[in-house]
Amino acid sequence: MPEHTVLFVDDDPNLLRSMVRTLRQQPYRLFTAHDGREAVAVFKAHPVDVVVADESMPGLSGSDLLAWVAEHYPDVMRIVLTGYPTTALAIRAVNEGRVFHFFTKPCNAVELAVTIRRALEERDRIRKRTAAPTAQGPPREPSAGWYDFTDPYRPL
């Protein structure tokens, strides 16, 4: 079992599927969610190390979600992947979401994969520096519920 978990949030299922394909050989579990509501559910059910979120989603927007994560799971590395970058969005992502990286669609998959790896390393460094168990506690097995609405990650 990989040590890390990455959550990908986008309202376009085709995009989630392509991300799953692209990142299938990466050394982490990849969870996907279609909108902010599902993402929150994943957070509540699983420890997450990195979250990659789109901006335009029904209900909770990407920046809203990241702000929520920054508030509730400040150690989780946050990455933005947006189809329409605006200054306002970038400012909000930095100030409220305190994101690790800001991607615009379409982005280079290798670059995205490398950035996720760096985020995980950063996450590990922070975890070691604090030398304390995360507030999240031990990972739990995913409940049966959310597999219904997210794609399963695929271990190496």
Binding site: D12, L15, S18, S56
Partner: protein, 841 residues
């Protein structure tokens, strides 16, 4: 004796003897004879001799018939029973009967004959032998009748003469014609009474000699009278003369004299006969007539002068210089002695003389005033001295005339100045109209065009005096919705916008002002202001707003494009990698096939293949590759759809109006704006499949729809309810004239307080930076001004809002005079059902 029957016819009854009714052709004889044999004999004989003969047998009968009837002759027997012939004769003459009578007697007494002749018988015949008397009788009768006729003629002539004399006297008396005579030989005058009266003297004072008389003749006429007398005494011809005499009482009379020279047998003048008549009254009347004619001529000249001066007033655009010159030329002709009359006119710096002008002794001048200020003078003079006996060269009428002329000239100058000013103003106005590309016309209440400015005239021809609906449209009645009719009806200014189809659809704003002219009649002035510049700015504003709207949509559009782009690329890369892995597997399989042909496949090769298959995740690839291809194609389709919709959505701004399929426009608008509503609302399309196209600008109409759709989505978002999607319903309908597009949302609704400001520019309820407030204002402009449609809404706070756009199906551009009845200022009808809530913009 038995009486004999009366021969011949009974004469007709004559009521009055004195008035014979029958003109006789034969002399009528009454024969009185007691001897009937003789009587019949006489009767037969005389009748044969063409006399008409009546018989009487005694004196009484004869007298009675003579009293009743006319006879020309009485043949009277002397011896008659009873009253005898002499007695009859006596009685007849005694009663004044003058009938000629021939006495017939058998006795032949001379005494009796003398007695008969004394008593007035005309002849006397003795009846001896029968043949003798008969022969004699005819001759005697004829002679007596002839004598009697002669006597009668003489009596009538004497009477006529007396009557003539009497009439002459009366005539002379009545006409006051005097008769005089001058004996040339004796130099002696004799006058009748009338002549004396005429001269104012008594018969005793009649001058004896001609020279004495001549002293009473007016001294100016004396030589004329003397000369005439001498000349006619020499020529012996009649003469006729009028001259003045002075009566002793000093009165002057005119007399007319006709004279005739009477000569002796040797031709020497003996007498001068003359008649004279007082013709003073006639002469005075004649003189008065001449004077009146003269005065009439003077007045006529004055009238002509005034008329000519008045005509100067009517010449448009006459300068003061020209006025002065013409007046100086006209005025002298009106004066009594116009051949020597001169005139000088001075107004301001301008002065002019009549052609023959020279400074004169006799002058008459009046000042010329303009607005009560003396600016010059008009002066008339005579270039020659005043004729002797003329009381003064200028009559009162001429003074009045000059005063009139001076006044009229003053008015002409006033008018000329006013005209010059009006001309300047008009030129200035027309320049301004031309410079600002403004057209103007004035139309009276009967729709006749009274004025067209030159700019209009150049573009459309001068239609002054025509009716505009006839001139432009060949219609008999004004066009529907004509601003002119409305302005005349309501007496209020009407403003509308239209396009001038004859000037390449130049956009204009027509303002129709009603006003009353000086006589109180209603007119309208139509001012047609070019709004090309404003329209251009409006277009730019629309375009600018379009960019804003596109900017709003850009987020969604970018997302809609970039997301597929992301996964299309990723999928293709995946396919590439997967194919590389599969390639290695296939290469190994190929080697194995060759090895198998060469003998046996080494077992380690099979193990290698198994390892490769696992490494290349062949099962996974077989599962994922079709999905990746399918999803990539989906993504490509999504991008293509958006790009197509974008292209439809953003038509160029300045294109021509074209038929627009509103259903399609709504669909593409929904596509490009999808990102704004897809997370918020379910969109329901209720589109009329048989919707006719409208003539319009697709780009602008899309802009209207995107505003309505985005607003609808925002109104739903404003509910703040994330749990339940709202609904946007888009309906299209066609009612035969217009196409209706309704965009209904289940949003918060528009509060009543702001409902009348919804279409105001820059009005917004959004935060600063979220919206410029131009959206609905521009949508309104596009629908009403750009397309001649209407846009309105009704809203129930808390339940939703419906915006309704109606567009004419055949949006034909009208003419200036009868535009499509587009809304006037702020004239969009608002149907607002609103309470509490938030405005959607």
């Amino acid at each position: 004796m038995t009486p004999l029957p009366r021969p011949g016819k009974e004469p007709p009854h004559r009521p009055n003897k004195a008035t014979p009714m029958v003109q006789r052709t034969h002399p009528r004889i009454l024969c009185v004879e007691d001897d009937r044999t003789l009587a019949r004999l006489l009767h037969r004989y005389l009748t044969r001799e063409e006399f008409e003969v009546e018989l009487a047998f005694d004196g009484e009968e004869a007298l009675a018939r003579l009293a009743r009837e006319d006879f020309d002759l009485l043949l009277l027997d002397h011896s008659l029973p009873g009253c005898d012939g002499l007695e009859v004769l006596r009685i007849l003459r005694g009663r004044g009967d003058t009938i000629p009578i021939i006495m017939v007697t058998g006795t032949g007494s001379t005494t009796m004959a003398v007695e008969a002749m004394k008593l007035g018988a005309s002849d006397y015949i003795h009846k001896g032998m029968e043949g003798e008397i008969l022969q004699l009788l005819t001759m005697r009768v004829r002679r007596v009748l002839a004598e009697h006729a002669h006597d009668q003629a003489k009596i009538r002539a004497d009477e006529a003469l007396r009557e003539s004399q009497r009439r002459l006297d009366l005539t002379l008396k009545a006409t006051a014609i005097g008769v005089w005579e001058w004996s040339v030989v004796e130099d002696r005058m004799s006058w009748d009474e009338t002549t004396c009266r005429l001269a104012g003297i008594t018969p005793a004072e009649v001058p004896r000699r001609m020279e004495d008389y001549l002293t009473s003749v007016h001294e100016e006429d004396r030589s004329l009278v003397r000369g005439t007398l001498e000349r006619h005494l020499a020529s012996r011809e009649d003469f006729q003369l009028e001259y003045r005499i002075l009566r002793p009482d000093g009165e002057e009379r005119y007399v007319a004299v006709r004279g005739r020279v009477v000569c002796d047998a040797q031709g020497a003048p003996q007498r001068l006969l003359g008649v004279c008549q007082d013709v003073t009254e006639r002469r005075l009347a004649e003189e008065e007539l001449v004077r009146q004619r003269f005065l009439l001529g003077e007045r006529l000249k004055e009238m002509q002068c005034l008329y000519a001066v008045s005509r100067l007033l009517e010449i448009p655009g006459l300068s003061v210089r020209q006025l002065v010159e013409k007046a100086a030329d006209i005025i002298p002709r009106a004066w009594t002695y116009n051949e020597v009359a001169v005139a000088r006119v001075r107004i301001g710096d301008h002065e002019a003389h009549s052609a023959n002008y020279r400074d004169s002794l006799w002058k008459l001048a009046f000042p010329v005033q303009v607005h009560g200020r003396v600016v010059g003078a008009v002066e008339v003079g005579y270039a020659e001295p005043c004729p002797a006996g003329d009381e003064g060269p200028f009559s009162a009428e001429e003074r009045m005339l000059l005063k009139d002329v001076a006044e009229r000239l003053g008015r002409a100058v006033e008018r000329s100045a006013a005209e010059a000013e009006a001309r300047t103003l008009r030129q200035r106005m027309e320049f301004i109209l031309a410079a600002t590309k403004t057209g103007m016309d004035i139309i009276d209440e009967n729709h006749f065009v009274r004025y067209v400015d030159p700019g209009w005239g150049a573009s459309y021809g001068d239609f002054t005096g025509r009716k505009c609906h006839e001139y432009f449209h060949g219609r008999r009645a004004p066009c529907d919705g004509c601003g002119l009719v409305k302005a005349l009806e309501t007496k209020e200014t009407v403003v509308y916008e239209t396009q001038l189809t004859r000037e390449g659809d130049r956009p204009v704003q027509v303002t129709t002002f009603p006003f009353q002219d000086e006589s109180g009649k209603w007119m309208v002035a139509q001012v047609c202001v070019d709004v090309s510049e404003r329209k251009r700015m409006e277009r730019e504003l629309v375009q600018a707003h379009k960019l804003e709207a596109v900017g709003q949509l850009a987020a969604g559009i970018a997302h809609e494009i970039n997301t597929p782009t992301q996964y299309i690329g990723d999928n293709i890369r995946f396919l590439g990698d997967g194919f590389a892995d599969l390639g290695r597997v296939l290469a190994h399989v190929g080697e194995m096939v060759r090895a198998a042909r060469g003998g046996a496949v080494p077992p380690e090769r099979i193990a290698e293949l198994a390892s490769l298959l696992e490494e290349a995740e062949v099962d996974y690839l077989r599962e994922e590759i079709p999905a990746a291809i399918r999803q990539a194609l989906e993504g490509i389709e999504q991008v293509a759809t958006i790009v197509r919709a974008m292209k439809e959505f953003s038509h160029p701004a300045d294109e021509e109006k074209q038929p627009v399929d509103l259903n399609r426009a709504l669909r593409s608008t929904l596509t490009v704006s999808r990102n704004t509503w897809k997370h918020l609302a379910q969109v329901n399309l209720d589109l009329e499949p048989a919707l006719p196209p409208v003539q319009g600008l697709a780009g602008q109409l899309n802009q209207v729809f995107v505003n309505l759709i985005v607003n609808a989505a925002q109104a739903i978002a404003a509910r703040g309810d994330d749990t339940k999607k709202g609904a946007i319903t888009i309906r299209t309908r066609y009612d035969g004239d217009e196409v209706e597009v309704a965009v209904e949302d289940s949003g918060v609704g528009i509060p009543e307080a702001v409902s009348d400001r919804v279409f105001d520019p820059f009005f917004t309820t959004k935060e600063v930076g979220e919206g410029s407030g131009q959206g609905l204002s521009i949508a309104h402009a596009i629908v009403t001004r750009g397309h001649g449609g209407t846009i309105r809404f009704h809203s129930t706070p808390g339940e939703g809002t419906t915006f309704i756009v109606r567009l004419p199906c055949e949006a034909a551009a009208g003419h200036a005079c009868c535009p499509e009845p587009a809304g006037t200022e702020g004239g969009v009808p608002l149907e607002v059902v609103a309470g509490e809530g938030r405005a959607i913009e």
